[in-house]
């Protein structure tokens, strides 16, 4: 009943509808030219057999998809994203809870600390991690001096080291949406849960986590998309023995000039990331849709 009424009200007069459509036209054109056109060109380029872009064909796709090595690269790239997402959740979620309980003054300090990584260039952050994780870096020196290890640990050029650095580098992308959603939660909900006899953990998992789902999902999407495409961090901290799709794209487009093949790899990265991101947001909608209702 209310639905009928709602749709009846929502339907504007015809003239108004046309005007609104026209207002959106410049934006639509801008999107088409700076977003859609290059994407279509990328698709077009991928269907050429040679690096001079003269012979159309499916050769590059066949070459890419026919090589099992590339499937491993795709899987590794997606796994890297998922591991980074997990690590940012495990560290970021408690941080967000601490932030919410902090005094306003401490919140200001925390905001600065959270946002600071975004103010530094990714190159600086990445090279700082070399200093931290290196053979003679901060971590190894400390562990050696404490006598915890006798040989330096290999942290650089390992997936572990890469996930550690990406976790720090991508953390703001997790924390900012999470905190913005969590700070809009009614503080009485926690008190209500407690007064009804729930422990802190029960309150966390039955009230706070479900209600912060939209922020958590948004954070996961951003961290995943950003970490799977973090070419500089991947190559500088991970080294080139850890091969992810961005490295392949760089090699093919800028070292060997095989643009069609680079286009194939780029589209593969795009589709893989979109697939995982859609899955994540589907899960998020299922568990968190009520908030937007």
């Amino acid at each position: 009943m209310s639905l009928e009424r709602a749709t009846g009200v929502a339907r504007p007069p015809r003239a108004l509808k046309l005007a609104e459509w026209q207002l959106a036209l410049p934006l639509a054109l801008a999107f088409a030219s700076i977003f859609l056109a290059p994407l279509l060109m990328l698709v077009g380029v991928s269907f050429f057999n040679d690096d001079k872009i003269s012979q159309p064909g499916f050769g590059q796709w066949a070459k890419f998809l026919g090589d099992p090595f590339n499937y491993k690269v795709i899987a590794d790239t997606m796994l890297l994203g998922l591991k980074t997402v997990c690590a940012t959740i495990v560290i970021g979620y408690p941080l967000a809870l601490i932030y919410l309980d902090a005094s306003p003054r401490l919140q200001k300090v925390l905001t600065f600390i959270i946002v600071m990584p975004l103010l530094l260039s990714v190159v600086v952050r990445t090279f700082a991690w070399i200093v931290v994780l290196g053979r003679e870096g901060v971590v190894n020196t400390l562990l050696l001096q404490l006598g915890i290890i006798s040989e330096p640990l290999r942290l650089l050029q390992t997936e572990l080291g890469l996930v550690i650095s990406l976790t720090q580098i991508e953390m703001p992308l997790m924390l900012l949406p999470l905190i913005s959603v969590m700070s809009r939660l009614d503080p009485n909900l926690r008190d209500a849960s407690s007064a009804l006899g729930a422990s802190r953990w029960r309150t966390l998992f039955t009230v706070i986590v479900p209600l912060s789902m939209p922020g958590l999902v948004a954070g996961c999407l951003l961290v995943f998309a950003s970490s799977t495409t973090a070419f500089i961090s991947q190559t500088v901290i991970g080294g080139v023995r850890l091969i992810y799709l961005p490295l392949l794209i760089w090699q093919q487009s800028l070292v060997v000039f095989n643009w069609p093949f680079a286009a194939v790899v780029s589209l593969t990265l795009l589709v893989s990331v979109l697939t995982v991101v859609s899955a994540l947001s589907y899960i998020g909608r299922r568990s968190g849709g009520y908030v937007h209702g």
């Binding site: 009485n188 008190d191 407690s194 007064a195 009804l196 729930a198 029960r202 039955t206 908030v291």
Partner: protein
């Protein structure tokens, strides 16, 4: 039906010399309240008077700086809020938005480890009690404000709390609904025999629902008494001013004997009234008198004073007069409306037959 809802014996609640400080400011200042089992007590006061803070201390959300809270004689200060078994209904209801009505009501039961059909049965019973049985699968946002409040009430009652706390429970409801809910809460409270504390800034609400009212101001309880006593015998100027409408007139004590004081009003009359504590001969006093305890008169007399009549507004069955005394005080006088008026102008004011004005020492 009646039996299943009646909880065990109602509990007494004692608040002893309780203080709460936020930094350097004192929100609650040495409050002591002895609440009888099964009693409904309203904490009444202007915003910022400490009434909500006091409620949150009892619920266990805020720690006091000093003092104790006892339930049936046992101190509960060391218990976290989730072990106090105190039901609370928040001003904004604080229903869990992602859970259905039934899940909200079942929340406290599940948190206590109850499972299965027993929970279902209790949820249905309490939803029926608040007349929301048909709505158990709705989400809170699909309900009206009054319905949401009934869910919050059912949720708080389902855990069979020893004490029920209500934080401004009617503030968000419209006028008609408010009366319905007041009646409903009173009915439930009677049925369950539940000791209940209600925080409100609305004196009518406190008057109609509470057995006793604690009027609070600046962290302190000014008076803790029955509604009638508070209205008729306010013990402080603050209570006098906060409850109902009153007229304040300046005067001096001209004689004192056997507990009766003769007050010489600046407006020009001498009245014999019960003497207040701690005022001597010649002390400046304020006389508080309700508008309905004043009357107009056409002729002068020893206990009348001259006035300059102003507007007269008919309100319902009453007529409200405005008048000014010779010393410049504005008075409100309420009389029953009559269908005819005497012709002579009534330029004098006096106390009505059953008037019980109160004297307060005049603050300097």
């Amino acid at each position: 039906m009646q039996n299943t809802l009646t909880s065990k014996a109602a509990r007494a609640l004692d608040v002893e010399d309780l203080s709460v400080r936020y930094g350097t400011s004192t929100a609650v200042d040495g409050v002591t309240l002895a609440i009888e089992p099964g009693e409904v007590v309203a904490l009444l006061g202007p915003s910022g008077c400490g009434k909500t803070t006091l409620l949150r201390v009892i619920a266990g959300f805020v720690r006091q700086a000093a003092g104790r809270v006892r339930v049936d004689g046992s101190v509960i200060d060391h218990l976290p809020s989730n072990q106090r078994n105190i039901g609370i209904v928040f001003q904004n209801y604080a229903l869990f938005p992602h859970m259905t009505v039934a899940e909200n009501v079942a929340y406290g039961l599940r948190a206590r480890g109850n499972r299965g059909p027993e929970v279902q049965a209790r949820v249905s019973r309490f939803l029926d009690t608040v007349q929301l049985g048909a709505f158990h699968q709705r989400l809170p946002r699909q309900l009206s404000g009054g319905q949401q409040q009934r869910v919050a009430l059912a949720r708080a009652l389902a855990i069979e709390p020893s004490i029920l706390l209500l934080d401004e429970p009617f503030a968000a409801l419209d006028r008609n609904l408010r009366l319905d809910m007041q009646i409903e809460i009173k009915r439930l409270q009677r049925t369950l025999g539940l000791t209940t504390i209600l925080v409100t800034h609305d004196q009518d609400e406190a008057m109609s629902v509470a057995d006793r009212i604690a009027v609070m101001n600046k962290g302190k309880v000014e008076q803790f008494d029955t509604p009638v006593a508070i209205y008729d015998r306010p013990q402080t100027l603050f209570v006098n001013g906060f409850i109902g409408t009153t007229n304040l007139m300046n005067g001096k004590i001209s004689s004192l004997r056997n507990g009766t004081a003769t007050v010489a009003l600046d407006a020009g009359a001498s009245l014999d009234l019960p003497a207040p504590d701690g005022v001597g001969l010649g002390a400046p006093v304020l006389m508080s008198v309700r508008p309905e305890q004043l009357a107009l008169s056409a002729a002068p007399g020893p206990d009348t004073w001259k006035i300059e009549p102003g507007l007269a507004l008919p309100i319902g069955a009453q007529l409200v007069h405005e008048a000014r005394t010779v010393d410049g005080t504005f008075l409100k006088i309420i009389e029953p409306r009559r269908t005819f008026m005497t012709g002579a102008p009534r330029a004098y004011c006096t106390l009505a037959a059953d008037a019980r004005p109160t004297l307060f020492p005049r603050p300097t």
